[in-house]
């Protein structure tokens, strides 16, 4: 009786064949069917942003997306950021350097938001960063250090790019 959909989902460069009820959100499929629990769920109505992932490079809410909708898309989650040896990437390093996280629950969402945003806009002003950071909710930091971390990461990427 339950309606099951067969889909192929591309996550972090790996392809997964899944048989799922269509009502399963992308957030639940990533977390509970694929075991990628770095993506968190904080409100299930698209406002807190803890579930933010990249869909074809663009930050998007995994709680407002059914997994069946994104067959054929490239999904990226927080698990894709670190190197193969587990070393943090520059954005993650900037978050720890600037104390851009406390409890860490909202953090993967902010990382993926920033990762997607900086890919599109490598030279943002601090005010532009603030406006994008306002997409997600953090209850611990007061946001100041999140903006700091993203600003410094962007600056360092530009410097590395210019010198390299």
């Amino acid at each position: 009786m339950p309606d099951i959909q067969l889909i192929e989902l591309n996550v972090n460069g790996e392809s997964h064949d899944l048989a799922i009820p269509p009502r399963r959100t992308l957030a639940d499929v990533l977390r509970h069917d694929l075991g990628l629990t770095g993506t968190h769920v904080g409100c299930e109505h698209g406002i807190c942003g803890a579930c933010t992932v990249l869909i074809d490079g663009a930050p998007a809410r995994a709680c407002l997306t059914f997994a069946v909708q994104v067959e054929g898309a490239e999904i990226r989650t927080v698990e894709s950021l670190a190197g193969p040896d587990g070393a943090m990437n520059d954005l993650q390093q900037a978050f720890t350097d600037h104390h851009g996280l406390q409890c860490g629950f909202c953090t993967p969402g902010f990382l993926m938001l920033a990762e997607g945003y900086l890919a599109e806009e490598p030279e943002p002003t601090r005010e532009e960063i603030r406006e994008v950071v306002a997409s997600n909710i953090c209850r611990c930091t007061g946001y100041h250090t999140i903006v700091d971390a993203i600003e410094h990461c962007a600056r360092k990427r530009r410097a590395d790019c210019a010198s390299g």
């Binding site: 309606d3 663009a58 059914f66």
Partner: protein, 280 residues
């Protein structure tokens, strides 16, 4: 907050989508970006038995200039409009997109979805009425065009039939001197009041700005002032004009927001939209 069960249908073409909608009737909903629908489904405030996914239909996303008009495909995302170069004729559309939710909503949400959802405070709904957009709709009987002013029937209620699909939105008239601004306590929220202005919006009365308001009526509310206000399209007279607009609209007290305050917001936002439009 898990949605009720539904059956998923992926339409590969507009024709197939319309067929599915015809077959499935009132129990089916179209899903494109899903940014409003899925939130309502997670709260089980919406519980369609069938979802018809049109996101994979080719050719429904994109922005084209056709003569002096602008055609925007129904699947074009808010973010695509935000970053498109629409200067100067339709720059108001790009500028307004920053009021639509937040970036991760704008990357998925679509113009067609927003119009079909018919929220009277939504930016696309207000812009469509302001700029006299034509909504191109496919149904079992073929294509029809609905004037934006005829599209919105009430809160979250549109003139679309259950088996019809928005495929394109046409903005026929250039609007280089237009702007939308709004007020909410918190960034990204639906506006308490939104005001959109086209200083050249009344072809029959070129010196009077056209105003469309969100948040004061169930649907976007156009306001046209009489000939007394000829010449109010220039700076210095925006305050007087905005006051007249605010005095003219019917507003009722609402939970938490009195008519007096809402009227004040109308006055403020109309004036600010006029100023922004004049500087555009």
């Amino acid at each position: 907050m898990k949605p009720a069960a539904f059956t998923y249908h992926r339409a590969g073409s507009v024709r197939r989508a319309v067929e599915l909608l015809s077959e499935l009737g009132e129990d089916a909903k179209v899903i494109a970006g899903g940014q409003s629908l899925v939130a309502m489904m997670n709260y089980r405030l919406a519980r369609p038995e069938h979802l018809v996914d049109i996101a994979h239909v080719k050719g429904l996303a994109g922005i084209r200039r056709v003569g002096g008009a602008l055609h925007i495909g129904a699947l074009t995302t808010h973010h695509a409009v935000e970053v498109a170069d629409l200067t100067p004729d339709f720059a108001v559309l790009s500028r307004t997109m920053r009021w639509v939710g937040h970036l991760p909503i704008r990357t998925r949400g679509t113009i067609g979805g927003s119009l079909a959802h018919a929220d009277g405070t939504a930016e696309w709904c207000i812009l469509a009425v302001l700029l006299d957009a034509r909504i191109v709709v496919e149904g079992p009987g073929g294509t029809r065009r609905i004037a934006a002013s005829d599209l919105f029937l009430g809160p979250f209620t549109s003139a679309l039939e259950p088996d019809e699909l928005i495929v394109e939105v046409v903005f026929p008239r250039r609007a280089p001197r237009a702007a939308l601004t709004e007020y909410a306590e918190r960034r990204g929220d639906f506006a308490i009041v939104a005001a959109a202005v086209d200083l050249d919006g009344c072809p029959e009365a070129p010196d009077i700005p056209l105003v469309v308001l969100g948040g004061v009526a169930p649907t976007p509310l156009p306001v046209r002032l009489g000939p007394d206000f000829t010449g109010t399209t220039g700076p210095g007279r925006f305050g007087e004009f905005a006051t007249a607009v605010a005095d003219q609209v019917q507003i009722r007290d609402d939970t938490g927001v009195s008519a007096h305050y809402r009227r004040g917001l109308v006055r403020t936002l109309v004036e600010r939209a006029c100023e922004e439009a004049a500087q555009a």
